[in-house]
């Protein structure tokens, strides 16, 4: 593994009697886009806020290049952050907001115009932020985060409030930032866009680490289901059961097999002269993996697996 940019060790945070983060450990590779996934309330925001020095951990530590955020000399030159919530004064214009960000972090004011262009807000830069849509605020947040030309970017649910076009823009944008050698850690509970954006995936649930792996490894290792449509479903089902498999009969002519691969089923059918109308290996999407992982983490009595 390449050099680690962000390291989280034994991290724990209690809010009163609620455990938000529970002995969390992970490291983020330099130059990667890492998706930080988990259902709402899993502890993503708390973890990111601890990493950014906004929340103090109950135990453990979170560091960037070996240093805790609050000891960084010029933090906004090293780390750019886009957090959820209203982080703008509604009466201040976008350009003035960026001026304040530049002044507070001693950043180069000359980059303000460039950043406004980059996120497509130049035409609205003189307007009060109070009149902005959620998507425009997200863009302004990104402009502010990039103002210091940081090596590390931390984004909490940046896709929230973006329309499909905005999400596509964000995805390309994050890839471009990683291509420039920056390290990106981006949290989300909406997974659809993530699968096309991230290199690595960290999944947490109830404050604990559930999985941490490269994206293709994670989706590849989990076995998908195979859909088989055949007029001879009775015989195929019997043959599969005889082979120790557990097919499910979904429709009179449709079987769902979770413990055999499409080639196996195809070859078996050919040998036994069973006509197939349909043989589809359903690759598990990130979403399926995610639901599977987080569902098992809930330790709830396991019902029939929803697909």
């Amino acid at each position: 593994m390449a050099e680690s940019k962000i390291v989280v060790e034994g991290l724990r945070k209690n809010f009163g009697s609620t455990v938000a983060v529970d002995d969390l450990n992970f490291a983020v590779r330099a130059g990667s886009v890492t998706g930080f996934l988990g259902p709402n309330g899993a502890g993503k925001t708390t973890t990111l806020r601890i990493l950014l020095g906004l929340v103090s951990p109950t135990a453990g530590r979170a560091t960037i290049d070996g240093q805790s955020y609050r000891t960084l000399d010029h933090p906004t030159r090293k780390v750019g952050a886009v957090l959820e919530g209203a982080n703008f004064h509604p009466g201040r214009s976008a350009r003035n907001h960026l001026k304040v960000v530049a002044s507070a972090g001693r950043l180069d004011r000359n980059r303000i115009g460039e950043m406004l262009d980059l996120v497509g807000l130049t035409a609205f830069a003189g307007r009060r932020v109070g009149g902005y849509s959620l998507g425009m605020r997200q863009r302004l947040g990104i402009a502010g985060a990039l103002l210091g030309d940081p090596e590390v970017l931390i984004l909490d649910e940046p896709a929230n409030g973006l329309d499909p076009e905005g999400i596509r823009w964000l995805r390309k944008f994050l890839r471009a930032l990683a291509a420039e050698g920056r390290t990106v850690l981006v949290s989300s509970h909406v997974l659809a866009e993530m699968s096309q954006t991230v290199d690595d995936v960290i999944v947490i649930g109830r404050g604990r680490l559930i999985a941490h792996a490269p994206l293709d490894e994670l989706t590849g290792s989990a076995t998908g289901a195979v859909r088989v449509r055949t007029p001879d479903a009775d015989r195929l089902e019997a043959l599969l059961r005889a082979a120790g498999r557990t097919p499910q009969r979904i429709e009179p002519e449709l079987l769902l097999v979770t413990d055999a691969t499409s080639p196996e089923i195809g070859e078996l059918s050919a040998r036994e002269n069973i006509v197939l109308h349909e043989l589809v290996g359903e690759a598990l999407s990130l979403e399926d993996v995610f639901l599977k992982l987080t569902a098992s983490a809930e330790l709830a009595p396991s019902g029939p697996e929803a697909s």
Binding site: F15, T45, T46, R49, L52, G53, L54, V55, S56, Y69, R70, L72, P75, T76, A81, L83, G85, A86, N87, F88, H89, P90, G91, R92, S93, N96, H97, K99, V100, V101, S103, A104, G105, R106, G144
Partner: protein, 247 residues
């Protein structure tokens, strides 16, 4: 400290400052003009005498309360608007932000105090001249009154920041500070007329030339009492701010 400059930039780019300044100046001018018009109609009160002229020159007495509110909104308002997050991301050593705000709002309080004092004294001199009344108050006393009032507003700007740091909930901080100033302290004045001079409002009233206490202090001592309160509350506010989770 570049963060002081940042605070002025924040003030210049929103309208709070102008709103408070306009409200304060209008109120001070109104009180001065009403005093000029109606003072002579009050029995035993004459604009030709020192007492009434003193009251005229203290028409800007609300400036310290405005400076207090100004400072509270400057600090607690960042929590309310959520701008505290980018503020602390850029300056994670939070006590520096609190100190920078204290300096910026000291200057802000000073300007509120100075402009309202100048406006009121301008109205007083012109009004008395129109009524063909001589100013009987010695110029040194007038200067002391206006200077003291401006100094009090300066301290109150700092106190506002400190209160906002101790109580980050803006509404709670505003209500708490106003109740303390307008209700709690006047009650304490009645029960402890001697000790009241060491309270914020007590020392403030001495410094701004409007004391109503059983015992007084020199102007310098009153300024010292206010400075001590500023230091104590700022330290407490910095400590609380450093430890607070920004969620």
């Amino acid at each position: 400290m570049h963060l002081v400059g940042t605070e002025f930039l924040k003030l210049r780019t929103t309208r709070l400052w102008w709103g408070l300044a306009i409200a304060l100046l209008s109120l001070s001018a109104l009180i001065a003009v009403l005093t000029l018009i109606f003072a002579d109609e009050t029995p035993g009160f004459s604009l030709r005498e020192d007492l009434a002229q003193r009251s005229l020159f203290t028409s800007a007495g609300f400036n310290s309360t405005f400076a207090l509110v100004f400072g509270i909104i400057g600090m607690a308002g960042e929590y309310k608007q959520g701008t505290i997050t980018p503020t602390f991301l850029a300056a994670p050593q939070r006590w520096r932000v609190v100190v920078a705000k204290a300096l910026a709002y000291a200057i802000g309080g000073f300007l509120l105090g100075l402009t309202s004092s100048l406006l009121v004294s301008g109205i007083a001199y012109v009004g008395l001249a129109i009524k063909d009344i001589d100013v009987v108050m010695p110029a040194s006393e007038i200067f002391e009154l206006l200077g003291g009032s401006t100094a009090t507003a300066t301290f109150y700007g700092v106190l506002g920041v400190a209160v906002g740091a101790v109580i980050p909930n803006q509404i709670a901080a505003l209500i708490g500070a106003l109740v303390e100033q307008l209700i709690a302290e006047p009650l304490l004045f009645n029960f402890f007329p001697e000790e009241a001079r060491f309270l914020i409002g007590g020392a403030g009233s001495i410094l701004s030339g409007t004391p109503n206490l059983g015992a007084t202090l020199s102007l310098w001592a009153a300024a010292g009492v206010l400075a001590a309160w500023c230091a104590a509350l700022l330290s407490l506010g910095s400590l609380i701010t450093e430890r607070k989770d920004i969620t």
